[in-house]
């Protein structure tokens, strides 16, 4: 039993941490997200050069075959730096679907381009009505000879504004909320019949509502098996959830330490406000929640890397805890920063917004807890 990072992992951590410090201060980040695309291609090239984009991909796909711990290391540092670049969507969702599908070999050139930082991709799963049910899918793909015709709408598609290729979750059979009958297609973002509306989210990222009007896709663009998208989607979403939770733990660390430091220097009634016992206890609680979330993160990554049988349960528990602890730590960080915490200028509110986003992604705390309860009862 050992919870230290390996020398390689410490190097990776060091490398991401140095990037955040040297090239990604809060001002830079503010500029990056203010740009229309919501991300910066030069920074993305740097990610590629530093090898980070290769981490999640298997070695036979040109990747590094990184472990869950490797992923955690990157994401925690991204969290601390509030890195807005579309790492999760490109490498874990878009790239993950391609790389982990049983027919991944036919997408090897796409994967190479992802790793090289040359391709922006997206995964279009959400619809207006679907909320947290991944397979509440009404976008239809009708078979027409050796091709499919896509009709419908996908909403708030992450990286959807910038993506050149989009994997679309569409219904090829079954009823509205059924898992069976859903299929994944890679679609060119410039294909005829595609209409995009860019939407800004509170964490600065640029997403898109995408309409598909008789968009023609070939049978070769199917990722995985027809009608059987569910297992692959679930696997990829689980991994992305883990990554987001690791990011959240990084954010929580940043928020609690920032708050502690602020209350040491901020004076009221002639003393540092950090000397008030009630505020001390609230920060102690922030620390406790952070430590607990971190422990559950360790539990989860170890279970993945050790192929234990409680991975799904751990990820759901982690998602619940990250959602709840995030609300507590985020709320207290703002409250303890007083008026400053309520301004857009200070970074605190932006960290809090990102935590809120992460809570929602793929199902909020309440939803995840219900799924957790189902597993426990099974």
């Amino acid at each position: 039993m050992d919870f230290d990072l390996s020398p390689e992992q410490r190097m990776l951590q060091e490398s991401v941490s140095r990037f955040v410090q040297d090239a990604y201060d809060f001002e830079t980040r503010t500029k990056v997200i203010a740009a229309d695309a919501g991300s910066d291609d030069k920074l993305w090239q740097q990610f590629a050069r530093l090898g980070w984009l290769a981490v999640p991909f298997a070695e036979d796909l040109g990747g590094i075959g990184g472990s869950a711990v490797d992923l955690m290391v990157i994401m925690e540092e991204f969290g601390k730096g509030l890195v807005a670049e579309p790492y999760v969507v490109n490498t874990l969702l878009f790239g993950g679907l391609l790389g982990q599908s049983q027919n991944h070999s036919i997408f090897s050139s796409l994967i190479e381009r992802i790793i090289a930082g040359e391709l922006q991709g997206a995964f279009a799963f959400l619809e207006r009505q679907s909320r947290f049910e991944l397979f509440d899918v009404t976008t239809r793909a009708e078979k027409d000879d050796n091709r499919f015709i896509l009709n419908g709408e996908k909403t708030l598609v992450m990286n959807g504004a910038a993506a050149e290729q989009i994997i679309v979750l569409a219904r090829t059979g079954g009823k509205q909320c059924h898992e069976l009958g859903t299929t994944l297609f890679v679609v060119d973002a410039n294909a005829e019949g595609i209409e995009k509306t860019g939407v800004r989210l509170m964490d600065g990222q640029k997403v898109a509502n995408i309409q598909f009007n008789n968009v023609v896709v070939s049978a070769q663009s199917i990722v995985g098996a027809v009608d059987h998208a569910a297992p692959l989607v679930r696997e990829v979403v689980a991994r992305a959830s883990l990554a987001l939770c690791a990011e959240a733990v990084g954010i929580m660390e940043k928020l609690y330490t920032t708050t502690v430091e602020y209350t040491k220097v901020r004076k009221q009634f002639g003393v540092a406000i950090g000397s008030f016992q009630t505020l001390q206890h609230r920060m102690a609680d922030m620390f406790i929640e952070y430590e607990q979330a971190k422990s559950l993160l360790y539990r989860t990554v170890c279970s993945i890397d050790e192929q234990a049988d409680d991975i799904e349960k751990n990820i759901l528990a982690l998602k619940v805890m990250v959602g709840r602890a995030g609300k507590l730590i985020g709320g207290d960080a703002i409250q303890l920063h007083g008026g400053m915490g309520l301004t857009d200028e200070l970074d605190v509110g932006h960290y809090v917004k990102r935590l809120m986003m992460i809570n929602t992604m793929f199902g909020d705390a309440d939803y995840s807890q219900k799924k957790f309860a189902q597993i426990m009862a099974a």
């Binding site: 909320r131 049910e133 708030l156 009634f269 409250q335 309520l342 509110g349 917004k353 909020d364 219900k370």
Partner: protein, 391 residues
């Protein structure tokens, strides 16, 4: 022990209710809600109240007050917030006016009160400074007498609506005393005086209501000082006790009804969110708390009707009122799900794919202020411990 109002009060309630229904139109509501049209629309609303004679119910009748009883004031507030109509801007009509009425000169009353009443002159409040928030007595902005004028230098912050205001009333330091509170004076400043710079502060909801105000050798006629130099702290204190009164019960009630509606329409895998027991538990937690708070408020009003001053129950109202508001905001965000993250900007709800996600987020983020402003909830608990529990 009973909850009934007198028949006169019920008649008055019906009158207010009818007025609100007619005067507070959906169009007006829309324009007040948008940063761009806010000021004009708010003035329009206040002028309606002015014409009705209801704009300053707590003022003495001779200056344009309504002469309402405690019960009438309560009824008015309940009916107003039941339709979601905004309160008047408090800076002139509630805050400054009580100071001028009590401590101002006759000339100041003549000069300032009429235009406050008619909503022709808007005020803002220059109290907080970067080094003086909850600890206001630490303020540093100075006013030095030079001939017939005070020369003001300093830096105010968190000044709500300074960018909409014509005047600002400030606490300034006119001398350095042993006891920090004693050197503070109360000064009225035309916000267009040379030397004043206003810098907007964007809030985490993305909106602009707060500002910093910088004073650089700003010259203010000495007749603009209220009362005596060095007594500003006393005047400001007298005012603060007026600040806390209502707990936003009617607003929260309206919000919760809306939330029930939305939660019945938001579906997850075929189940309405309202039928999800976890959500239902959270919602009813708040509803029950609010049912209690409504009567905590009524008990406070009933005390006031017997002439007992607003006691320490105002701290309970503040704490519980804001806790409920924040719980409401969180429920609304959680109903919106992914769409709570949307920054709608110029997009239509149809383009976004959702009606209230963006405003749910704005309200949620802005709502973080509720537990800070008007004496943070921590300070309210200190007050309860000290003045109620005698600790």
């Amino acid at each position: 022990m009973h909850t009934k109002f007198s028949s006169e009060d019920i008649q008055f309630r019906d009158e207010v209710r009818a007025f609100m229904r007619d005067a507070y139109t959906p169009d007006l509501a829309r324009r007040i809600a948008s940063d761009k049209t806010f000021k004009d629309a708010q003035v329009e609303w206040e002028k309606k109240l002015y014409e009705k004679g209801w704009i300053a119910p707590h003022w003495p009748k001779e200056y344009g007050g309504a002469g309402w009883s405690i019960a009438q004031k309560f009824i008015y507030e309940s009916e107003r917030s039941a339709v979601g109509a905004p309160d008047v801007m408090p800076f002139g009509l509630k805050m400054l006016s009580s100071v001028i009425l009590k401590f101002g000169s006759e000339a100041q009353k003549q000069r300032f009160l009429p235009k406050i009443l008619s909503s022709d002159e808007w005020w803002c409040q220059g109290y907080s400074e970067p080094g003086a928030g909850s600890d206001l007595a630490a303020l540093k902005t100075s006013a030095a007498l030079d001939g017939d004028e005070y020369v003001v230098n300093g830096h105010k912050i968190w000044t709500s609506y300074a960018h909409n205001a014509d005047w600002i009333f400030c606490l300034v330091r006119t001398s350095k005393e042993e006891k920090r509170q004693q050197g503070i004076s109360f000064l009225l400043i035309d916000i267009n005086t040379p030397g004043i710079t206003i810098r907007p502060i964007v809030s985490i909801d993305g909106r602009h209501t707060l500002n910093e105000v910088f004073f650089d050798d700003v010259r203010v006629p000495k007749e603009n000082m209220v009362g005596e130099p060095g007594k500003g702290w006393t005047y400001a204190k007298a005012l603060l006790t007026h600040e806390r009164s209502m707990a936003g019960v009617a607003d929260s009630k309206r919000d919760l009804e809306q939330i029930r509606q939305w939660a019945s329409e938001e579906v997850n895998g075929g189940q309405a969110l309202l039928d999800d027991p976890t959500f239902s538990k959270r919602l009813t937690d708040v509803e029950i708390d609010l049912m209690a708070l409504e009567f905590t408020e009524l008990r406070s009003v009933a005390k006031a009707m017997k002439g007992e001053g607003p006691g320490t129950e105002s701290s309970v109202l503040k704490i519980k009122g804001t806790e409920i508001q924040q719980a409401v905001q969180e429920l609304r965000m959680d109903i919106a799900g992914y769409y709570g993250a949307v920054v709608q900007g110029e997009l239509s709800s149809h383009e976004v794919g959702h009606d209230f996600g963006s405003s749910a987020r704005e309200k949620y983020m802005y709502g973080r202020a509720a537990s800070l402003y008007g004496g943070s909830n921590e300070i309210q608990r200190n007050i309860i411990a000290k003045f109620v529990l005698g600790l």
